[in-house]
Symmetry: C2
Subunit: 242 residues, 2 copies
């Protein structure tokens, strides 16, 4: 890792709950730069997202990992993770409040240009950044990595002011064709600037090495799709931050 | 245009028919380089494809525009174009022979590295480059820009040895959901390395300025999708030619 990358845990608040995020930036760069919010998968904020934040810092951004669940709330089992993620997925208003609190915390970090903001997220976090867009947040764009794209309130698509990029495994069994079609309809009806990339041979969680390599489990790492989707995010950022 | 770009009309043969292609390369670059075949839309080889070839030459490739229809066979009306394109689409063996003749002609051009070849195509040409892949051609990759993706012989997907990238308008009325699903099945069943990018708000022919700007006609230029798809092709080339 670049020695100039600075990282720090950052506490912030939402609705009386303390959240514990993480910021990363390159100390060798001068001045204001775009800020990127990183939203965690269902296990909560882990070293994985912190590593992505460091990668983003190396690209010249200030990256801030949101904490949706709350300080110290870090599931230890997939059962716990499923229950927690389910709680927020079924309370989209709370989810929106939490992710917007993260966005606000990002905006308060040194060197962040408040006119150039984006959010990326993985799995549960991929769903969350689309919800951030649906909340009408003032960001230039959001990128969902293998996130669920369906919405209980598709009319909220009309609130979206930013560009939307969804990166999905073409073989993801958790991405139902009907949900994908509903998402496309929502984006189309709301005249959003949206794109989807489908990666052949990739299932759910294709960016997550800890998912293993067995596609038959429905979730698995896919090195090619991981690399291609990261490059696509970089291209997207080059477009939205220019 | 870069003054160093050299262009030339090139005659070649297939099955007793004379075809008239077009080559472009940068004279200021030394040595061997990747070769890119460019396959025209239904109106035949026009200045549009020649301009794309020049753009590819500026990127450092040798670009060769194939002529599928034959020397002097240049439709003047969409009715003629439809009949000609239909003839080749309903005779996939002839279409494959013609596009492979173009690939061979590309391979004979100076400075072309025969181990680094790709093909791109627009509309009818987008269909054609997928057929090139289905013929088992020795190329590193093919890129279809708003091409029809369905196949009368989906089992031929097993012949594909190259990477496949399809760039499609999410609102393209000529891209039927069933055809898209059939293409995905063909790629999946044959374990091809494939990707699709869907561009929101883009209809058929989104790379073609002559298509106008009225989406309600089903075919229209879309500057954002044009730019994004070209960038995606560049990213893909960087991957397959490294």
């Amino acid at each position: 890792m670049n020695a100039a990358i600075q990282t720090k845990t950052v506490e912030y608040q939402q609705g009386g709950t303390t959240l514990e995020g993480f910021v990363a930036y390159d100390d060798a760069i001068q001045g204001m730069r775009p800020g990127v919010l990183v939203v965690h998968q269902w296990m909560g904020l882990t070293d994985y997202e912190k590593h992505r934040a460091e990668m983003l810092a190396q690209l010249g951004y200030v990256a801030f990992c949101a904490d949706i669940y709350g300080k110290g709330v870090r599931p230890q089992t997939v059962a716990e993770a499923g229950a927690l993620a389910g709680k927020y997925k079924s309370d989209r208003q709370l989810l929106r409040a939490r992710v917007n609190a993260g966005l606000d915390a990002l905006g308060r970090q040194p060197f962040v240009d408040p006119k150039r903001l984006a959010a990326i997220g993985y799995c549960f976090g991929g769903t969350t950044v689309i919800e951030l867009a649906r909340s009408g947040a003032d960001v230039n764009g959001v990128v969902s990595f293998h996130g669920g794209l369906d919405s209980p309130t598709p009319a909220d698509g009309k609130n979206i002011k930013c560009k939307v990029l969804a990166l999905a495994g073409a073989d993801d069994p958790f991405q139902k064709p009907d949900d994908l079609a509903a998402f496309e309809r929502e984006m189309r009806d709301a005249k959003v600037d949206w794109q989807i990339n489908l990666y052949g041979g990739a299932v759910h969680a294709f960016t997550q090495p800890m998912a293993g390599n067995d596609n038959s489990k429905g979730a698995a790492y896919n090195e090619k799709a991981d690399r291609r989707s990261w490059e696509e995010m970089r291209r997207f950022f080059a477009e939205i931050f220019k």
